[in-house]
């Protein structure tokens, strides 16, 4: 795992509303590239009371040229999103990963949502990492493997050139989308718990 990007942000809404907005965030005008969202599983752990949700999103859009060089022809990608909500302790952790590069390299985004020091606000920490499946195997295998010569570092270097600004744009858009959904929730009278 190589950490690539980390950022903090606060929403001007209480934690319960922000978590609800997270599940309702598609569709919004900032997410026109998100074609669909489906729930694959949803269950409450009887011991912890934590809610575990797995969803599948389909996003459309070309990859940055530097990445397409490695993984051509992808014009849409499946995103697996896993989240755990701990309502008792007011904490939500999410993980999103693209499935199309599975077996080669994944970009994994982790977020943690907790109430801010001012409980009317919610803090979000976002960390984006690269995860190479190859790195999970023994080094010897990797050296002999098909992907010899362009491992994590090569792709990472390419991604870094264009990746950071795109990632910032993407995060900005997802925040704006969340804010719109939060505004709608407030208008409909959802003010929290």
């Amino acid at each position: 795992m190589v950490k690539f990007f980390e950022t903090n942000f606060s929403y001007d809404y209480q934690w319960p509303a922000v978590t609800l907005a997270y599940f309702l965030r598609y569709p919004n005008p900032y997410s026109t590239h998100v074609v669909s969202s489906d729930t694959l599983s949803s269950f409450v752990n009887p011991e912890t009371g934590n809610l575990h949700i797995t969803r599948l999103h389909l996003k459309r859009g070309k990859l940055p040229a530097s990445v397409a060089r490695f993984i051509p022809k992808i014009k849409e990608s499946y995103i697996l999103e896993r989240s755990v909500i701990d309502a008792r302790n007011q904490r939500m952790c999410t993980e999103s990963r693209n499935l199309d590069w599975e077996g080669v390299l994944s970009v994994v985004e982790n977020q943690e949502y907790v109430p801010a020091a001012d409980p009317a606000r919610t803090d979000v920490k976002t960390i984006v990492k690269f995860e190479s499946r190859l790195g999970h195997r023994k080094r010897e295998e990797e050296k002999r493997g098909f992907f010899q010569g362009w491992g994590t570092s090569g792709v990472r270097a390419s991604l870094e050139v264009v990746g950071r600004s795109r990632m910032r744009d993407g995060l900005m858009k997802s925040r704006e989308g969340m804010k719109l959904v939060l505004e709608q929730l407030r208008e409909r009278g959802f003010v929290g718990v």
Binding site: F23, V35, L40, V44, R82, A87, C93
Partner: protein, 79 residues
């Protein structure tokens, strides 16, 4: 509500989503954190439709594999 990957499942999805959002906002977030069967039946209908579509698109196995192999994420109570 967002669309389903499989248009034929959209109606089942919308019924389930509505149930889930109601349960989540009215009960779970308000402290009823025990497992609930409230939306189970609607989810089964939706899931049956969706799994069929995922298999037809040939992505069912890929998704199952990814769900199994990814690291567990957990919300700990450490604060």
């Amino acid at each position: 509500m967002s669309a389903s990957l499989a248009p034929e499942c959209s109606e089942a999805k919308e019924r389930y989503d509505t149930c889930f959002i109601n349960w989540y906002s009215e009960k779970y977030l308000r402290g009823q954190t025990k497992p609930s069967k409230e939306c189970e039946e609607l989810f089964e209908i939706y899931k049956t439709c969706l799994n069929k579509a995922l298999k037809e698109k040939g992505i069912y196995d890929m998704i199952e594999e990814a769900r199994k192999t990814g690291p567990e994420i957990r919300a700990t109570s450490k604060r």
